[in-house]
């Protein structure tokens, strides 16, 4: 029984297995299956300042070993969250992290200020990498100046752990990582989805209402793993990894590549119990490799 505890800046995790934003609702939906307190942490569905209806149906297309989504950040806005959802979930005994989204820097700031007041939210994940919204979103995450600007301004108003979520749709993700580190990010998380597309050949039409969407799942794992490896070498702050993690072996690979913790996303759709299987499998792996703590595993790839 190895020690699975690990920290991301001020955030103390009982284990490094967390749920990815947009794939686990507001935690309650997963709590229907098991006690979410067993998890290392939960990144809640992306929130914006105001209600968003999201994109039109259809929003989803299956792809080889993956899927495209074009949800477009459907959510009821931060105030609704604070008044209606937060009271119901704040007692969960695991860090709940809010995924913060905006169209402008001002949006991000205003939203963050509100989140800063929430006692039971110990961290935010600044989403500058959502490919499914027309304004803001990924636009901030694909240039260094854009990423720096949002991070800097949000850092000014936010006291707790600030994780910046990076887009993989860039030439050099480690540059962006270094840029946000330079502006005071406590951690970076990656990868968000890859911009992809699917077509119905018979109907000669795109399968998504938005034409393009975000690719996730095992298909992207090799690219995500490479990016995590590059970023972990480039920055000193902890890296939270995601992208196609389906089992404990996948999680171990990302941790070996330098991740301090991992997020499970699309895998939940296949089987919401996968995070528990990963925690167990990680434990078994550490025992088998005679490691006392998961900390020994972080970045221990032999190259």
């Amino acid at each position: 029984m190895a020690d699975l505890r690990i920290d991301i800046h001020d955030l103390q995790l009982k284990n490094p297995v967390m749920l990815a934003s947009g794939t686990c609702g507001y935690a309650e939906e997963i709590n229907e299956f098991f006690d979410v307190s067993e998890l290392g942490g939960i990144f809640l569905k992306g929130l914006t300042l105001h209600n968003r209806d999201g994109n039109l149906y259809p929003r989803m297309a299956e792809t080889p070993s993956g899927m495209l989504n074009a949800v477009g950040l459907q959510n009821k806005g931060i105030d609704y969250f604070i008044n209606n959802i937060y009271p119901r979930i704040k007692h969960y005994n695991t860090p709940l992290i809010i995924n913060v989204n905006g169209s402008t820097v001002e949006d991000y700031i205003e939203l963050t200020e509100k989140v800063n007041e929430l006692d039971k939210i110990p961290a935010i994940e600044l989403n500058i990498s959502c490919p499914n919204v027309k304004e803001g979103g990924m636009a901030f995450g694909i240039t260094c100046p854009g990423a720096e600007a949002v991070t800097r301004e949000v850092r000014r108003v936010y006291d707790k752990t600030l994780i910046v979520k990076l887009s993989p749709n860039v030439t050099d993700v480690s540059e962006i990582a270094k840029a946000v580190e330079g502006q005071g990010a406590d951690s970076v998380s990656l990868v968000n989805t890859f911009v992809g597309m699917a077509i119905d050949a018979e109907k000669r039409k795109p399968l998504l209402s938005t034409i393009t969407g975000g690719l996730s799942g095992p298909a992207i794992k090799p690219i995500a793993l490479r990016m995590v490896w590059q970023v972990a070498k480039a920055v000193k702050i902890p890296v939270v990894a995601m992208g196609g993690i389906m089992n404990a072996t996948d999680a171990v690979e990302f941790i070996l590549a330098g991740a301090t913790a991992v997020q499970v996303g699309t895998a939940l759709f296949k089987n919401p119990l996968i995070p528990l299987q990963i925690i167990e499998g990680l434990n078994g792996y550490l025992d088998r490799h005679r490691m006392d703590s998961v900390k020994e595993l972080v970045g221990s790839l032999q190259v």
């Binding site: 947009g22 229907e32 569905k45 149906y57 299956e62 296949k270």
Partner: protein
């Protein structure tokens, strides 16, 4: 915590109903919860490289004594095809119970349950579970041709059986809404229920609205998760975009923004 489960069921029977429909009986490892007509399960498709996500199917029958849940699978594409190839003894993973069931009819009410294509299962289940005497229940089943129909004679104990076929080879020729039950006396019903292809459900909804009859439909939107986290299955409603998997699949047509 939790009234949803992910479990490996054992296939006890796989019965071919006709060229494209199969009945799977699946034995649960643990006592099954109550599951009602309209609710569904999300089934994993194994042993294929082409399918990544689960596939949702309405529950067709519950046998709480034997701990068996049944579904009817119509072959539509690769996933449904693969699922019809399972054999007794295979294990198959289900997420359940999912979604909301149809509103049960009140005592003494008269109902019409309209099913077509892959939407047959919940209609048969509803007829059986309605709690009404058979004479209060009309089942109307539409298909392209006689050969697309499956044998539902056993259901005559729960309601009267009526058929339409597009080519006239069984029952009334045409779509379900061409059947006398629609054209003559729709107002006589307290509730109309429908499940099937979108076009069919919209036609049913149109007639029901015209006749001023309460109507519920079960939608079959594309789903990634089935339990409310991905927000892919949404349907525009008067309350905004709602998830079909958690707020549906059953909706009253007055909640929907259908242009009918």
């Amino acid at each position: 915590m939790g009234n949803k489960t992910v479990s490996d069921f054992i296939v006890t029977e796989n019965i071919k109903l006709n060229d494209t429909n199969y009945l799977l009986r699946l034995k649960a490892p643990d006592p099954l919860p109550i599951i009602r007509p309209g609710q569904f399960v999300n089934i994993e498709v194994k042993n294929t490289s082409e399918i990544f996500l689960r596939r949702p199917f309405s529950v067709f029958e519950m046998d709480y004594d034997k701990n068996i849940l049944s579904v009817i699978i119509k072959i539509l594409g690769r996933g449904s095809k693969k699922l019809t190839e399972v054999i007794a003894g295979d294990t198959i993973s289900l997420i359940y119970p999912l979604g909301r069931h149809f509103t049960y009819p009140g005592k003494g009410e008269r109902i019409l349950a309209v099913g077509g294509g892959s939407g047959l299962a919940p209609m048969l289940f509803l007829a059986k579970e309605s709690g009404l005497p058979a004479e209060n229940v009309d089942l109307l089943i539409g298909a392209r041709s006689a050969s697309d129909h499956i044998d539902v004679n056993a259901y005559s104990q729960y309601g009267s059986l009526n058929f339409t076929s597009e080519d006239g080879t069984l029952g009334t020729k045409g779509f379900v809404t061409h059947h006398p039950l629609f054209t003559d006396n729709l107002k006589n019903y307290d509730k109309v229920y429908a499940c099937g292809p979108e076009g069919m459900m919209k036609a049913v909804a149109r007639e029901a609205r015209k006749a001023g009859v309460n109507c519920e439909v079960s939608l079959e939107n594309l789903m990634a998760c089935g339990f409310g986290v991905c927000l892919c299955c949404i349907e525009p409603t008067v309350k905004g975009n709602l998830c079909v998997c958690t707020e549906g699949p059953v909706f009253n047509i007055n909640e929907l923004k259908w242009q009918i």
